[in-house]
Structures are given as structure tokens and as C-alpha cells.
């Protein structure tokens, strides 16, 4: 990859249809290209950190670009482009971490910030009770680019705006649709990593995140209902906007928002649930993704995100769910928002099992977590959401494998006498050890004697993680498998936001507790 500024300017020049780049831009580019040599800056940081006593050090010099367009009905509310550029230095001195970061990317600044990072580590080392240890990682010199067909930053703004306005028009076609908001945002991470291991890694990552919500208001009753898009962010390019049938989904969403006003309130009780991937991904995220984070199990997140009902002694012993449940972590998964070439401490992206045949078998680890459970290598889960954030353990893509047979939605419905079919994610909440959860959705449909019937409303399902996954007795095959995810998964102190995906097939669960959230007493 060449100069990041060069790429940025080329992209924006193309995007805006500018025939010639203004002279001052070229001057800036030339000046920056001359001034910012990432390898040289890395050499300064790494050699200085070593000289000052660091047993390990890394520097990340990163640029983050974001483009967002927000609309409502026939209006464009904002079109914006942002970028953030800077570097962070992390050092390990006498068993204590120190980190410092700045937006001023110059050799002088790199020296000053490296000294600060060492100073912070030293101040803390005097009081450190448990010196940090790391498993080794191989030296890597590589360039990696995420998979995309069309870089969204090379696509002009006009068709994007027109696309969203057409989508809004489609949603508002339904009689009774009152409002619609829609947006698309694109992220580009240009990451450079260097460490005392000798690694030098450059990565270029693109993610796309479109969304919309339709609202239907009944003025005479004072009621209102919403229907949001079922699709989430993906690690692909602008082709996401061109290949998914967005206009069809918006038309359907408008109709369903209106239909929800007249839908039958659910009768609370126990139901068999057939859950579409557009809903189930979030349940996997909260109950499987977070519970298998080793830092939580070791109490590192006790003060904020919480711990986990899983503990190291349960590895290979606890039956997490029914034997058809196979959850895997995968930082190489196509379209996965947490897919990378390498994590933020140089460990290659990889795939491994978390739950095999229902048995809990694996953790998410980093280089300083792995030795605490006797492992000799990291699974590569270290991540920072910015050049200015301390990298720490973050979730890889965590997915539920589809059934090995070609089971379809109808096959799962066929065996349900009295159940509910659920699409889309709505409200969500789970406790700090990942036992008790409650999830809503976007649309809910009665299942009577194997057939999908009337629309329901005000549905939320509430369960306990292991009870829920033990109740899973049916999975769809590959044809029902979809990948969905979150662009903003929060964790850590200071809080950081991580993009992550979860693939799964449609799945069936027996006798799950269902609440009516519209009732006077829920």
C-alpha cells in the first residue's frame, strides 16, 4: 500500500468527479509522503522503547475514514466524511503495560510519546502484583486487504443519496407508513503495525453499514410501531448496496410496520421458537460470543462488561447446548466484520472451535491471556478501535455452523404445533455473567400446526443461556445460513467499539418463555 494520504486523495478526487486535484492537495500529499515514513517512525519507537527497558513494544500508525449519509423521507439530513490519523505506542516494562498516543505524527512526537508510554509503565510497575507475560508470535512482514469488489470511497455521493431517497420512497408506499429514516456509512481502516518481534504489517479494511427504519403512527389511537432493516454491517464494499434487494425489503418493511399496528398481541407463555438468522445472530453474540471471552472469565472485565458463567475449569467439561450446536470463532470468515489478516499484536487471523457438539471447548485469547490458561499461542483477538485506544481482547466473528443436511425453514416449521417465527433484532439485554437474557425482534408470526399464520406483536423471549441452547433441536442447512452483525459492540474501559459478525442458519428452540412487552405488567 502506498501513502495513505495518496489513496485518500485519489479516492476523494474520483468520488467527487474532480478532473484535477487542487495544487495545494498535491503539495500536501508530497509534503506528507516525504515527512511520514511509517517504517522509520516505527524504528524510532521500537528502538527507543527497547533502550528505555521495554521487553516488548509495538506501534500502530493508523488512519480511519468514515463516510455517512443520513436521510428521512424525501430529505437528506447530512452527508459527512471524517478521518482520524495518529499513532499509539504500547510498551511492556517490568511486567506492566504502558500506552501513549498522539495525533501529531512526527519523529519528535514519536519519541515523546514512546517516552510517555515507558514512563506510565514504570510508574505502574512499582505497584504491579502480577507481571504480564506474553506467548510468542512469529515475525510477520505482510500486506493484507479485506475482500471487496467496489471500494465505497471510490463511489460518488450522488448515486448513494439517490439510492437512499428511492429506498425511502419504497418504504413510504405502504398506506399508513408515517416516517422513514435511512442511512449508509462506510468505514476504511488503514493500519500499520510494527513490533519488537520484527513484524511490519499493513492492512486495508473496508466495511459497509446500511440501515433503515420505517414508523407507522395511528393518530387516533396514539399507537406507533417500527420496522427496521434486517440486514447489518458487512466487511464488503459498495457491492452490498447493489446486490441485496434493498428496495424490495423497504417496501416489505413499510407494509409490515403498518401491519404491526393491527397485529395480535402475543399471549405470554412458553412457545416453540423458530428464529431467523436476522434475529439469532444477536443472541449468539451476547450469549456465546461474550461468554467465551477469556478476559471476562479471568475477571478482567468485572468492573464494566462483567465476567462469565464459563470458567477455565469448565473447558472441555461443560455441555453448553444440545449436541447439534457447533460454535466456531473465525477471523477469516468472508464478509465478517471482525475478519482481519492479523490482529493488533501480529497474530494471523484464524478459525477455531468454541463449542463442539454442544461441549464448551475453546476460548478467545490474546498473547497475554493465553499463558494464563496454559496455552502456548494466541488465537489473535487483540484489537483497538482507534490509534488512540489501548488494544485489548475483542470478539472475533463467532458463528453457529449449519446442519450438515439440507434442512429448510419449512422443515423446521413442520414439527411445531404452537410456536412463533421471529425475524430481525429489536431490544436486547443480558446479565453481566451471560446467563439471563431477553430479546425482542422486528416481526413475529404465529406458527400453528407447522404453518406460518398471523402476525403477532409485542413479543420478547427470555431465557438462560445454557437452557436456551440445550432447547435447540433443529438447525437449517447451508441454504438458510446468513451472516449478520454489529458495527458497534461496546466493551472495555475506556469503552471501545468493535465491529463483529455472526453467521447462523435458521434454528428451532423448544418451550422458550415469551413475554408480552405491551402488557401492563410484563
Amino acid at each position: 500500500m502506498k501513502s495513505s494520504r495518496r489513496n485518500f486523495l485519489k479516492a476523494t478526487g474520483l468520488a467527487c468527479g474532480v478532473a484535477t486535484i487542487p495544487a495545494w492537495v498535491l503539495e500536501t500529499e508530497a509534503a506528507e509522503a516525504a515527512a511520514i515514513n511509517k517504517t522509520k517512525l516505527a524504528d524510532i519507537a521500537i528502538s527507543l522503547a527497547k533502550k528505555l527497558g521495554a521487553s516488548y513494544a509495538d506501534i500502530r500508525i493508523n488512519r480511519y475514514r468514515n463516510e455517512s449519509i443520513f436521510t428521512r423521507e424525501e430529505r437528506v439530513q447530512n452527508v459527512s466524511r471524517t478521518q482520524s490519523f495518529g499513532f499509539g505506542v504500547r510498551v511492556l516494562v517490568q511486567g506492566a503495560w504502558g500506552f501513549a498516543a498522539s495525533h501529531v505524527v512526527t519523529p519528535e512526537s514519536v519519541r515523546r510519546i514512546t517516552e510517555q508510554a515507558v514512563e506510565i509503565a514504570r510508574a505502574n510497575a512499582a505497584f504491579q502484583r502480577r507481571p504480564v507475560e506474553m506467548v510468542p508470535a512469529p515475525k510477520v512482514v505482510a500486506k493484507w486487504k479485506s475482500s471487496f469488489e467496489k471500494d465505497p470511497f471510490d463511489v460518488a455521493i450522488e448515486p448513494k443519496v439517490q439510492f437512499l431517497l428511492k429506498l425511502n420512497e419504497a418504504a413510504m408506499k405502504a398506506k399508513g407508513a408515517s416516517f422513514v429514516t435511512s442511512s449508509m456509512s462506510f468505514q476504511n481502516e488503514q493500519k500499520f503495525y510494527a513490533s519488537t518481534d520484527g513484524s511490519r504489517i499493513e492492512q486495508y479494511i473496508i466495511r459497509a453499514n446500511p440501515s433503515f427504519t420505517v414508523t407507522a403512527v395511528n393518530r387516533s389511537t396514539g399507537d406507533f410501531q417500527t420496522r427496521s432493516s434486517l440486514q447489518g454491517p458487512k466487511c464488503i464494499g459498495y457491492e452490498y448496496m447493489e446486490k441485496h434487494p434493498w428496495l424490495d425489503e423497504a417496501t416489505q418493511a413499510g407494509e409490515e410496520a403498518v401491519a404491526k399496528l393491527k397485529a395480535k398481541p402475543v399471549e405470554p407463555g412458553k412457545y416453540d421458537l423458530v428464529i431467523h438468522p436476522s434475529n439469532l445472530w444477536l443472541t449468539i453474540h451476547e450469549s456465546v460470543g461474550h461468554s467465551t471471552e477469556l478476559d471476562r472469565a479471568l475477571l478482567w472485565e468485572a468492573n464494566y462488561a462483567g465476567t462469565s458463567f464459563l470458567t477455565p475449569d469448565k473447558t472441555g467439561k461443560l455441555q453448553f447446548g444440545s449436541t447439534i450446536c457447533n460454535f466456531f470463532a473465525d477471523r477469516t470468515q468472508p464478509e465478517g466484520c471482525a475478519t482481519v489478516g492479523y490482529d493488533d499484536e501480529g497474530v494471523p487471523g484464524q478459525r477455531w472451535d468454541l463449542v463442539k457438539d454442544g461441549l464448551f471447548v475453546g476460548w478467545q485469547t490474546t498473547r497475554d491471556l493465553a499463558p494464563l490458561v496454559g496455552q502456548k499461542k494466541s488465537y489473535g483477538c487483540l484489537h483497538a478501535d482507534s490509534w488512540g485506544s489501548v488494544p485489548f481482547p475483542r470478539m472475533p466473528n463467532v458463528s453457529l455452523a449449519p446442519a450438515p443436511v439440507d434442512a429448510r425453514l419449512d422443515d423446521l416449521l413442520a414439527d411445531v404445533t404452537d410456536g412463533i417465527l421471529i425475524y430481525g433484532n429489536g431490544s436486547w439485554s443480558i446479565d453481566q455473567q451471560r446467563y439471563n437474557f431477553q430479546f425482542g425482534g422486528q416481526t413475529f408470526w404465529e406458527i400453528k400446526k407447522g404453518k406460518v399464520g398471523a402476525m403477532l406483536r409485542d413479543v420478547a423471549y427470555q431465557s438462560r443461556t445454557t437452557d436456551f441452547w440445550h432447547s435447540c433441536d433443529g438447525l437449517g442447512g447451508k441454504a438458510t445460513y446468513e451472516i449478520n452483525g454489529s458495527a458497534n459492540d461496546g466493551k472495555g474501559e475506556p469503552g471501545q467499539s468493535n465491529a463483529v459478525s455472526h453467521g447462523c442458519p435458521v434454528a428451532r428452540f423448544r418451550q422458550v418463555n415469551v413475554l408480552n412487552t405491551g402488557a401492563k405488567k410484563v
Binding site: 430529505r75 452527508v79 504502558g98 498522539s102 505497584f127 504491579q128 453481566q432 439471563n436 438462560r464 475506556p494
Partner: protein, 445 residues
């Protein structure tokens, strides 16, 4: 952090660079540092400095925005040109209102230099003392200490300018018993580091963990509840947006396009106020769209008195833009009671320390779900009898504070919601209420 002079110079430069019809520019800068600990040992610690310039322009009423954190001339120029390019190719902004001319903003406090520059060794020693207290008490400590200095300035093409600095230091501590059977938490923050009682925060967390040992299981259901101020702040957040109410999609919308304005919606002792000059909660004197903030009552004596009108929506509706909210202060009329007095007055009920993972379930009724965390105790005959396991709740905030449900109210104090990690702040009292809806039981600690 940028000084007022430097910030003004950058804002002026951005405005000079733009050829747009109208523009609002801003420059923000920060100095942030933290120390995190867990399992009775330090985990991460760091510092970050940053400065960002934001540009929003309108050309023929078409809007574009850009930002960048390189603040040299060429980069600022590039941000301006980027915003202008986006504006030229955007449709007309139908909600465009010309930016404000010069305004008068009454100064606030809220910045203390020493809060931003907490010495490294002093911080490490203070956290070490908390860990020692945890070790002595036989509990496992985790926590997060962070300090911030933020400077922000904005200017408009029509002549407005304002610069503000703020500081914040926060500490939260969680203490857990080694058997994993109980947990306690305490959080406080302040703009003045001298007013953050670090040792108290550790003590309170440890005490809650120790008094929560061997919790019993109670059936979920409707209970009388005492919410400590932390729990109240975690749960109670109000928004009074006029536009969504007028559009029929807020809990204050009623039938026929009407609203609950003028109706009694909360207990008559409760007022919901925004006040940038509150001595314990100094907040920016700039409300939305640059409007100079004033003290605003949204609920006074339980009656819904005001909605928030943006400049655009105010123009549409022939109203004045609302000079707030910039913060949330719950004022209490009449006598207040301490949590101890509330416990004494409770025949049968629960004391709740904190809530967690609170999410909206039904915006029509302001219904939220979430869980108790880090301390729930059963009260009978005016005394705490024993700790109990956590619950999931599904509770409307409006019903929680509705007339007839609120029995006693504590003295309002500075709080910070635990999900904000101590970044947010509010003035909140403890409450004793007749009914709180717990819908299921959770074994999480």
C-alpha cells in the same frame, strides 16, 4: 488541549478558507489518561492527546460536513474543501436554518487544571491502596480511574464564537468475593479531583460485596423498592423531544395528535430541570444549535411543562428554540429522607444498589428492561434481613415516578450512570417506590 486563543485562530482560519454561503466550524481537543485494574492487579494504563476540526457548510442551502484531526493549514483546507464538495453535490437541506450570529453565553465553572494532570505515581499509589484494602478484606478488586481535559470551540460564518474547557475525573470499583458469590460496586466522578473521595469509593464497593454474601433466591414479581441514587441514575433518563411528540411517536404523544403537555406525569414533588450553572454539575452553556443555555424546567412539580424545540422545529411550529437540555437535574420539593430512613420505613421490600444493561423495550410507554447488579437486599420490618440474587426487570420509567407510586425521595446528589463508565453526570436522589416490576430471576453475580 488547545487554548482559547489557539482554538479561535483555528476556527477563524477554517472560516477564512470556506467560500460557502454559511458555515459552522468547531475545534475540539482532549487530554485523556487512565489506569485500569482487575483481579487485584493493574491491567492497562495510558494517555491520549488529540485535536479534531469539524466543518459544516451550506452552499445554496445544500449541506456538507467533514472533519479531520490533522490541524495544519493544508489539512484544514482539505477538510473545508471536502465539506464544500459534499455540499455542492447534495440535495437542498430542507431543514436549513441560518447559523446564529454573535450570542452571549454566561460563563460556567467546571474546569480544574489539576484534574487533567493527575500525577502518574500518585494515581498508581491511590489505586494500589484500594487493592490493598481489597486484599485485607478478602475480596478481589477491579476498577477504572480516568481523567479528562476537553476544550471545544465553535464559530459560525455569521459571527458567533464560543470556547469552553471542562475537566472530569472518575473512579469506579468492583469488589467480588473469591467464591464468586457476591459483588459490590461504587462509582463517583467530579470536575475537581480534590472532591473525588477515592478511598470512600473503594470502601463502599468492598462493603457492598461483604454484605451481599450468601444471597438467597426470591421469586420475581412486583415489590416495593428502594433505589439507591446510583440505581436511580442508571435507570432514569428523560428526553422531551417536541418533534417526535408532535409526530405521534413519543411516550408524551396522545390520541388525535395531542400531547401530555400541562398534565401531571410525575409525582408532584419531582421536577426535571436542565441548568448549566448548577454548582455541582457545571455543564456547557451552549444548548442545541448554539442556542445560549438557560435553566429550563421540563417537568415542574410533576407537571410536564416544556418540550425541547430545535431551531428548525421551533420555526416550523412558531415557537422559540428551547435553551436546553444540557444536563438532567432532579429537583425535589419538600422533605427528603436518607436511604437508612427509607429502610426503617419499609415493612417489606428490596434495596437495589445498581442496574445494568438497560435497554428500551417499548418507547410508547418508556418501558425498559435490564437487571439489578452488585447488591440487592431484602428488607422486612424496617431492617435489611439478607441479600438476594439479581433480577431482570421490565419497568416503565414514567410509571416508576408516577403520582401514587413514589413514597419517599432522598436528597439529590451528583451521580454518574454506570453504563457511561463515569463519563456522564446528573443530579439524582434515591427513591422509595411502592411497585417495581421484576420479571425473572438471574443467578449472575
Amino acid at each position: 488541549m488547545l487554548t482559547e486563543k489557539d482554538s479561535k485562530a483555528l476556527c477563524d482560519k477554517l472560516l477564512r478558507f470556506t467560500k460557502a454561503d454559511d458555515a459552522q466550524v468547531s475545534v475540539s481537543s482532549e487530554d485523556f489518561s487512565h489506569l485500569r485494574f482487575a483481579a487485584n492487579a493493574f491491567t492497562t494504563s495510558g494517555r491520549r492527546e488529540n485535536a479534531t476540526a469539524h466543518v459544516t457548510v451550506w452552499i445554496d442551502k445544500k449541506r456538507g460536513a467533514a472533519s479531520a484531526n490533522d490541524i495544519d493549514d493544508a489539512s484544514l483546507n482539505m477538510a473545508v474543501e471536502e465539506a464544500e464538495r459534499l455540499a455542492r453535490i447534495s440535495p437542498v437541506d430542507k431543514e436549513y436554518i441560518p447559523t446564529l450570529g454573535a450570542q452571549r453565553y454566561k460563563p460556567i465553572g467546571g474546569f480544574v487544571e489539576s484534574t487533567v494532570n493527575v500525577p502518574l505515581t500518585e494515581r498508581a499509589r491511590a489505586i494500589d491502596a484500594i487493592i490493598r484494602d481489597c486484599e485485607k478484606s478478602g475480596v478481589i478488586g477491579a476498577g477504572f480511574h480516568h481523567s479528562h481535559g476537553d476544550a471545544s470551540a465553535f464559530a459560525t460564518k455569521n459571527g458567533n464564537f464560543h470556547y469552553n474547557r471542562s475537566s472530569l475525573v472518575a473512579l469506579s470499583v468492583t469488589a467480588r468475593t473469591p467464591d464468586g458469590g457476591s459483588s459490590g460496586y461504587f462509582l463517583r466522578n467530579h470536575f475537581d479531583v480534590a472532591k473525588l473521595d477515592v478511598s470512600r469509593i473503594g470502601r463502599e464497593a468492598i462493603q457492598k460485596a461483604l454484605t451481599s454474601r450468601a444471597p438467597r433466591t426470591l421469586e420475581a414479581g412486583i415489590y416495593p423498592v428502594i433505589l439507591e441514587a446510583q440505581a436511580a441514575d442508571d435507570l432514569i433518563r428523560f428526553g422531551f423531544d417536541a418533534r417526535s411528540t408532535d409526530e405521534g411517536r413519543s411516550p408524551y404523544s396522545t390520541t388525535g395528535g395531542k400531547s401530555k403537555l400541562g398534565e401531571t406525569i410525575l409525582d408532584e414533588r419531582i421536577s426535571i430541570v436542565s441548568d448549566p450553572w448548577h454548582p455541582e454539575l457545571p455543564t456547557s452553556p451552549v444548548a442545541g444549535d448554539g442556542v445560549p443555555a438557560e435553566k429550563v424546567y421540563f417537568v415542574r412539580g410533576g407537571v410536564l411543562e416544556n418540550f425541547h424545540y430545535s431551531r428548525y422545529w421551533a420555526k416550523e411550529k412558531g415557537k422559540a428554540p428551547t435553551p436546553g437540555p444540557v444536563n438532567q437535574i432532579i429537583e425535589v420539593a419538600g422533605p427528603t429522607a436518607s436511604v437508612e430512613e427509607m429502610i426503617k420505613a419499609t415493612e417489606r421490600g428490596l434495596l437495589v444498589s445498581r442496574f445494568w444493561y438497560i435497554r428500551s423495550v417499548d418507547p410508547r410507554t418508556a418501558l425498559f428492561t435490564g437487571l439489578t447488579r452488585d447488591g440487592v437486599w431484602f428488607i422486612e420490618n424496617g431492617k435489611i434481613q439478607y441479600p438476594v440474587r439479581n433480577f431482570r426487570f421490565n419497568q416503565s420509567v414514567l410509571e416508576l415516578l408516577a403520582p401514587g407510586n413514589v413514597e419517599m425521595i432522598g436528597p439529590p446528589e451528583r451521580t454518574s450512570s454506570s453504563e457511561s463508565q463515569g463519563r456522564g453526570a446528573a443530579i439524582t436522589p434515591a427513591f422509595k417506590v411502592k411497585q417495581f416490576h421484576f420479571s425473572s430471576q438471574s443467578e449472575a453475580v
